[in-house]
Symmetry: C2
Subunit: 691 residues, 2 copies
């Protein structure tokens, strides 16, 4: 063996044994994949990636995403070896412990320095990686000048057999191939083992051919658990691709060296004390010596901190010269690097709107399109519903491989900021998470489709919330009032999911003014937002709706003297609430109207404010919304809601079919109020008034 | 032209003009795809499919699924032409109307005779079709004998460009290829147009190569909007495949003949009166004559009713002879055809369980595995979590292509009833919908993965609910108590989605006895059920839990004299409720315990029963569950719930971290009760006691 081979060998053995030790410690975790991938790790961090341990957030770093997140020890152990200060051996030992200060959770989390994005559910990471590559590509095309490659990073992503079976992966892969993202390398840890056993229990496709059919380069490495240089060569080759993303199909051995090598038992359990001892011995280590990394191994990675410092210094210098040479572009670039919007961004939001009935999807377009047109942080796209979601601005340029000439003649380039995601809702949301994760605030990705189809995207929406990524989801056609497409397309239970999802703002504005407020919230938020918008025209309430008060979650929309009840109106169904309240007031039941665009934001308000709005215990509150009621019971004593799926009828007819008609609503509320007068105890039990 | 070509030509023109008329009528709908696919329709219903208009449910019929459901006029118009009695011209004219008796909704719905399954959201139908093919294959292998092909049907599925972009499609396609389902033909309406414009805006992959890489036959037809016989030939050829499913890539022209032919404007809007008139004229029809089908066209399809009758008669005779020759198998087959379980199915469910702490996933296994082993209606599978979900029974046989020899040596054949779905949660649920839709009750598909990953599968779970398909989803690892895998794997908001989804039972049993009750509910239900089960061991309550009372949704778990409060315990968190109640009672606050496995089932009970359980207005109720609270406010005045994502810690530690510890729960409840005593008005506002 050469000296290089020697040190690779020692390093591989050290890492494998360390991983076995760490998993044995608390008798839990995922050792096999991490062990099998050790050679890939050396090839990546020693020989390929540009990064800086002293500055994990270095803007132009190569991004690395661990899509097979359960192998996180792989990344933690390498973080330790390559000099990330936070990742001490003591921290490594916190894996699977009950230590609250642990930086080694069961799956990688974005809050940990050097982790680009939280992964775990399979298929998310690779889709995020496509987003990271899109972000970089767009910045390159927007800012780079001859001699000034201020953005030049590459994105690398590890996937396992499992990630490649997930639908979201195949969506993202298809789009990445179409877009020709040559700055993306996916490394496939091909160990042919998953939880159930060998992969051929369920998958016998030709992965290489499948990727080639989807416009990818494919490189194959056969001895991938041992041959560091061969992997490094493939990684280097992938960076030279001119017009395609690259899949490196690396054949590895899960649980290499253990008695369960190449067996599914190596995947998710400790090996047992005896076997760990044996592993120490066959790898040349003393079984008594746990958590041991030889000095030579530390030394082998010892140059990486200095190299990292050199990268960041060189880049800072390059940027300084760039700003000097291209002052206007340079200032803009620095703003993006700082993750800022132009100070005057709010000026693009209309201060007033037409008073004629307007679909809230159109209101949304009138708010965001001037922003998207003028502010290059925005990168907007649709899952093939561009004509329906009102997100196209004048002279938009598509983010597109400039080599593609489309049949419909709408072409683009990599500086474009409108993405045709295709009918790939899940990948759209996951890719947008990746774009947002490139660097906080540099991009504001906007996605769009019908609210119902965000159920396809829900796992990615969840990861955005979990990772606090500012992605804005424009969800139109958000009520049964969307009409004839019928129950398959009418959302009933979708809001209940998103209202209960932590860290996510789900906002359902009732008119253009509230839409403006909702967009302001979304743009000022840290995490993701879903804007829930109507297909059909909604009445406008210039005298009642207030964008500033949307930021309270709920507010008194129409007050009245000596009210005897509150009616909560929400989004597309505000009209029913408003008109019912007017009629009830006329009939001697003075009714206040409360607009309630966001439960989550309302919960964040003071008790005093909440009480001033709802007057709980003083007067009954009735909610009108054409969704499942779940959650409204917190604010209302009774309500009109949906307990079945919808129906294929024109918008007005479907509302009426389910009892959403002012006359009948008013009658039912009157009879409810009579019942309440007779027996106050019914206030204790939420009443479904249209059941 | 030959006479055949003549009648094809007239039929094509009649259909295209009729579709234009029907969409123009109410100025809405999807004409283009249906027009472009007309030749495929002739090839299918005139020349290929075995079906019976007089008996739409004929057991051995070829199944046809319209995965691109928005082109539903295609199917409605052909139903009319081929003699389905319900589909009159008057009914066709109800498309997009406000008629409540319409059988022509905006997307095909299973309740309509001849519609195999509800489709609409893209990718569902093709995945359902894979399920239909699996069902048929399994029956063939189980029952057919030489000379007695009692099950011999083929499954055909139409897809559009859009379906093929959806991830769930690629999951189902990959599995269908692996399984070698030669009884499945997918017909690709390749018009290269989607809503945004030409498909090459977002997709430039080589579909044929992609399918071939996934073990599919591919046949290409180029003149697919005109050449009926070429399509019919391809369909016939696909039926001869010996070991692979077939994709027929049929090139068509969306909106053929219209001024928006091959343009996205043809997709989802009426053409306008003038253009419809022009379409009449160029196709040789009088513009004044709307909704007109020439007599020759009716005549052309006139033989199909008799042919259908002949099919059903022949099959009935075949089955009668089969029963005579194979009496035991024949009786079993007839039971399956009738969609029945053996009468004694409940005997397989244990009447008692061990009193030692047991994970409810294990309880579930002990209930269902004897059923699945002994009753061949069950077809069980997992999304690569077989070792974790406790669904493997002794001597199970995998549903597997017998030609595949797996590396791990676990092989199977088509009579097997355990499916390795792979890491394809969405397809697993959608395929299971298809299996259930084969014939009501013939199969009971069981799926399994962690609860959190049912979010990937949620759109398909929804379609099962919408179509009333009895599929049972075994969702394990259903609480933060699952531990170290962390927030990516700990469900917080998932229950809120499924509790608010119409027609779906979401049941969270607290111990083995309740698990037995939950399975009984699932097996007696009409629609789908999610069983929400723990990874970790749960205490058993033989004196308290009652399987019969699970069927009430909630019940008094432990009563007490003169209670001052109710504590609701749910599923894996029952222990906290039960022990807290004991301690509080000891401390002078006599506390009843309510077990609450299902909100939806509880809502179906009488008001009297609900009041007897909850005593709303008499004593406060506190719920303890480690999920988002949304929905519990209906039943409780206060609660312990989750308002953030979870944390990567061992199970006990993560519970404790979020305040789920008996001591601290008791302290908080005591202080809550003191506050209530001082000021009853706080009962009006739901209190989050661990915030």
């Amino acid at each position: 063996m050469t000296a290089t081979e020697d040190i690779h060998d020692l390093t591989l053995k050290s890492i494998r044994v360390l991983i076995a030790d760490l998993v044995q410690q608390f008798n839990g975790g995922h050792p096999g994949g991490a062990m099998g991938m050790a050679a890939i790790g050396i090839a990546l961090w020693k020989y390929t990636l540009e990064f800086s341990p002293n500055d994990p957030g270095y803007f132009n770093r190569d991004r690395f995403v661990l899509s097979n997140g359960h192998t996180c020890l792989f990344q933690y152990v390498f973080q330790h070896l390559i000099g990330y200060k936070h990742m001490t051996m003591d921290q490594l030992k916190s894996y699977h412990s009950s230590r609250l200060d642990s930086l080694c959770p069961g799956h990688p989390e974005i809050e940990i320095p050097g982790i680009e994005i939280t992964t775990g559910a399979l298929g998310q990471g690779i889709s995020n990686a496509v987003g990271l590559a899109i972000a970089s590509k767009n910045l390159q095309e927007t800012y780079n000048k001859p001699g000034f490659p201020v953005v030049s990073n590459h994105t690398f992503c590890m996937v396992g057999d499992a990630c490649l079976q997930e639908g979201v992966t195949m969506e993202a892969v298809s789009l990445a191939g179409h877009l020709g993202l040559n700055n993306l390398t996916v490394i496939y840890d091909n160990n042919q083992i998953s939880c159930d056993g060998s992969v051929d229990l369920t998958n016998t496709e030709d992965i290489n051919a499948k990727f080639k059919a989807t416009n990818w380069n494919v490189i194959e490495v056969f001895n991938g658990s041992e041959d560091v240089l061969e992997v490094a060569k493939a990684l280097a080759e992938s960076k030279l691709s001119t017009d395609k993303p690259t899949l490196i199909n690396v054949h590895t051995n899960i649980g290499i060296g253990s008695n369960v090598e190449n067996n599914c038992s190596a995947h998710g359990a400790a090996f047992g004390e005896e076997e760990v001892d044996r592993l120490h011995i066959i790898n040349g280590f003393d079984p008594g010596l746990k958590y041991h990394i030889p000095a030579e191994v530390y030394e082998f990675f010892g140059d990486l901190v200095d190299k990292g410092d050199a990268y960041t210094q060189k880049w800072s210098k390059l940027v300084a010269e760039y700003v000097f040479n291209y002052p206007e572009l340079g200032v803009d670039f620095q703003r993006r690097v700082n993750g800022e919007l132009p100070n005057d961004w709010k000026n693009y939001i209309p201060s007033k709107f037409s008073a004629s009935p307007t679909p809230s999807r159109a209101s949304s377009g009138s708010v965001v399109n001037p922003l998207a047109k003028n502010i290059n942080n925005f990168i907007v796209g649709s899952a093939d519903l561009s004509p329906s979601v009102n997100l196209i601005w004048d002279k938009k340029v598509d983010f597109q491989n400039p080599q593609v000439n489309t049949s419909c003649g709408i072409n683009g380039d990599y500086s474009g900021r409108y993405v045709h995601y295709g009918i790939r809702e899940h990948a759209m949301a996951a890719i947008s998470n990746g774009i947002a994760a490139f660097n906080k605030g540099t991009f504001i990705p906007v996605t769009s489709t019908f609210l119902i189809f965000y159920l396809y995207a829900a796992p990615a929406v969840r990861y955005g919330a979990l990772s606090d990524l500012k992605v804005i989801h424009v969800a139109t056609h958000d009520s049964i009032g969307m009409g004839e497409d019928g129950p398959t397309h009418q959302p009933i239970e979708i809001a209940a999911l998103f209202r209960s999802m932590p860290n996510l703002n789900y906002i359902r504005p009732c008119d253009s003014e509230e839409v403006a407020g909702a967009w302001e919230i979304a743009l000022e938020a840290n995490g993701p937002t879903i804007l829930s918008l109507s297909r059909h025209k909604l009445n406008q309430y210039p005298a009642n709706s207030k964008r500033e008060l949307v930021k309270k979650g709920a507010y008194i929309f129409k007050d009245i003297e000596s009210p005897v009840l509150n009616i909560i109106g929400v989004g597309a169904e505000m009209g029913f609430a408003y008109e019912s309240a007017e009629l009830l007031t006329k009939y001697g039941l003075p009714s206040r109207v409360i607009s309630f665009p966001s439960q989550k934001i309302f919960e964040e308000q003071s008790t005093e404010y909440k009480r001033s709005v709802l007057q709980r215990g003083q007067i009954p509150t009735i909610v009108i919304e054409a969704y499942a009621p779940n959650g409204w019971e917190r604010y209302a004593n009774a309500g009109f809601s949906m307990h079945t799926f919808g129906k294929s009828l024109p918008g007005n007819a479907v509302y009426e079919y389910f009892g959403y008609k002012v006359d009948s609503i008013v009658e039912r509320i009157k009879s409810y109020m009579i019942r309440v007068q007779k027996d106050k105890s019914i206030l204790w039990e939420f009443q479904d008034l249209n059941c």
